[in-house]
Each structure stands twice: as C-alpha cells, then as structure tokens.
Symmetry: C2
Subunit: 198 residues, 2 copies
C-alpha cells in the first residue's frame, strides 16, 4: 500500500526513511525542480554531499544506478529508477532570500533554503547548515568553455525518480519556488510534485 503526499508548490517536506525503503518523486505537471537533501538519522552533521558524490560517481550528474554519498563518504541514496530523461543538477546552491534580492525581488520570497529549515522543524530537527542540494530534474547546461546556464527542465508530466535509502535517514524535498528564472520551465510557474512511499 503506497502512501502519497502532495509536495505543494513553493514548499518543503521532510520524511524519515528506513534503510532499504524507496520513495518515488513524481514530476506531476512536468518541468518542476525538486531540491533534495538527506541527513543521517540521529546525526544531522552527516548529510548527503554533492562534492563527495561527484568524486564517487565520477560524474557531474547522477544517473540511474548512481549512489550518492554523505560528507563521510557513506552511501546514502541510490537512484533506483529514473523515467524523467535523466537530467539532474548537483552544481547549484539552493535558492535563498539573498538570491531573490539579487534577482530584484522586493519583500520576502519563498525559497528552498527556508523550506529545508521549515520542513525539518516539523520533525523538531535543525539543519547544521544548508548543504548543496541534489536538484532533481534541474537542467544546468555546461558549455565547453565552462559556462553554466540554467535552462528549462526536460522532465515530462508524470515522469519520476525513485530513490532508495542506503541507511536510516531523514529526506527533505522542496518544490523550488523559483519564478524569476527558467529553473522550473519557460513559464516560470512553480508547480506541485508528488511523493509516493512504497
């Protein structure tokens, strides 16, 4: 019996997963980026690290079968299945109030950094900092000269990524609220996603 949770546009959600448990992240409407973090159960100082994962994968971006490591190089998550087209980002920081201010936003703008903290607070947890996220479905084009460009995602509506927990952990998702860059598609409109736990 699968539990299904709507990850509401512009918000975050934290969940506990036991070792071996799988969670499916469905891109319900397509082209929505979902920032993803993982923390070891019982020790928030050990968290999924993009820089350690890149060394281990020998890749810039994870593909089906890739194993993502913690900052202590222990396996945390495996990309068990990917029907999204396989385009994900490990290079870009979570958006935050500073990023939106620099883009010209006035007043408060929802952001993935605050979503991480808010979602963890619902489990009475505090992040030690904001680790660099696994940006599921995010399309960052790396050009031959080293230029990095944020372009619309390719993930079709209803496509998904299934993540398997390789240790007991807390996983956190944020449906990215970016509406001032084409992060979430050319229409720059953040949308819901769906989380399905087996």
């Amino acid at each position: 019996m699968a539990e299904s949770i709507t990850l509401v546009a512009r918000t975050g959600k934290a969940l506990r997963l036991a070792q071996g448990q799988e969670i499916r992240v469905v891109n319900t409407h397509g082209r929505q980026v979902v920032d993803t973090w993982a923390f070891a159960a019982g020790d928030m100082a050990e968290f999924m690290s993009m820089e350690h994962s890149r060394v281990h994968m020998g890749r810039v971006n994870p593909v089906q079968g890739s194993v993502l490591l913690s900052n202590r190089r222990r396996a945390m998550l495996t990309i068990a299945e990917d029907t999204s087209g396989g385009v994900h980002d490990t290079l870009l920081a979570a958006c935050d109030v500073h990023r939106y201010r620099m883009l010209g936003a006035t007043g408060y703008h929802r952001n993935c950094t605050d979503n991480l903290a808010e979602a963890l607070a619902e489990l009475s947890l505090v992040p030690p900092e904001t680790p660099s996220p696994l940006n599921l479905f995010q399309n960052s084009a790396i050009h031959p000269g080293g230029e990095l460009e944020i372009v619309p995602p390719i993930a079709p509506p209803g496509s998904h990524v299934t993540l398997r927990a390789e240790m007991d952990l807390v996983i956190v998702f944020s449906a990215c609220p970016q509406d001032m860059a084409p992060t979430n598609g050319a229409d720059m409109m953040p949308k819901d996603a769906e989380l399905q736990i087996a």
Copy 2:
C-alpha cells in the same frame, strides 16, 4: 615588502587577510593542487561556497576576474591575476581519511580535510564543517556525457594565482597530499607551494 611563506607539501596554513589585501599562490614546482577555503573574520559559519559561487559566476570554474561568494552570497575573494593557464576545480570534495581508505591506503594518510582543521587550530579556530574547497590548479575534465575525470594539472612551475580579499577573512590553504591519483601530476608526488602576501 612581501612576506613569503612556504606551504610545505602535504600540509596546510591559515592566514588572516584584511579587506583589499592580496595573496599570491605560487605553484613553485608546477602541477601541485592547492585546496583553498575562506571564512568570514569573526564568523566561521560564513564561508566561501563553491555552489553559491557557481551560480554567481555562471561558470563551473573561476577565471581571472571571477568573484567567489560566501554561503550568504557576499563577495569573499576575487581572482585578481592568473598566470597558471586558468584551470581550477570547484567540483571535488577535499580528500579525507575515508577517500584514502577507499583508494586502498592502510594506516593514516595525510589529507586536506585534516590539514584544514590543523591549520585553523593554529589560529585557535574550528571549522563548522569542511566546506567544498576551491581547488586551485586542479584539472577536472568534464566530458560531454557528464563523466568527470581527474587528470594532471597544467600549471607550469613558477606560475601563480593572486587572490584579493573582498572582506576581512581567514584564508586556508592545503598543499594536497594526494599521491594515489594523478591529482598533483602524473608523478603522483606532492610538492611545496609558496604564499606571498603583498
């Protein structure tokens, strides 16, 4: 009158820089990688962040003129001058005991993560974690399929990078002790570098 400090092979060094001050990192023997971190003076929780810098630079790797940001998106360091050929890495985690154990090392192997902590301890400072370093002179080839390959650096003997502090900060360098991969050249032999403060 420039002060010159030898960054001894396999070790680290932490220094305080005032806003506007410049430091030259000389690749004395060529092809030696120097892991580099920066922390805001008086607040170790604010540190140079590769993931925030990549967004700001719109690049994977910094070039002359690039500004590297903190995790609060404030300017920390500018690449004021670069005579090394302009190949540096922002993608790979600092080496650590886990990395060397996975490569087959037995017993303790010096590493950049411990060098960071040791160097800061000389200033009675403690890093909040090990931020992803700016790996000066490191040559990480990104192939079109997303594969990442560690290949020998191109920085010639005597070439240098000059970094300008954009705020009062603590800067930390580690002459990478990697001798089990071609990080520091095909001879896999860690070497000294030189730090020159104007």
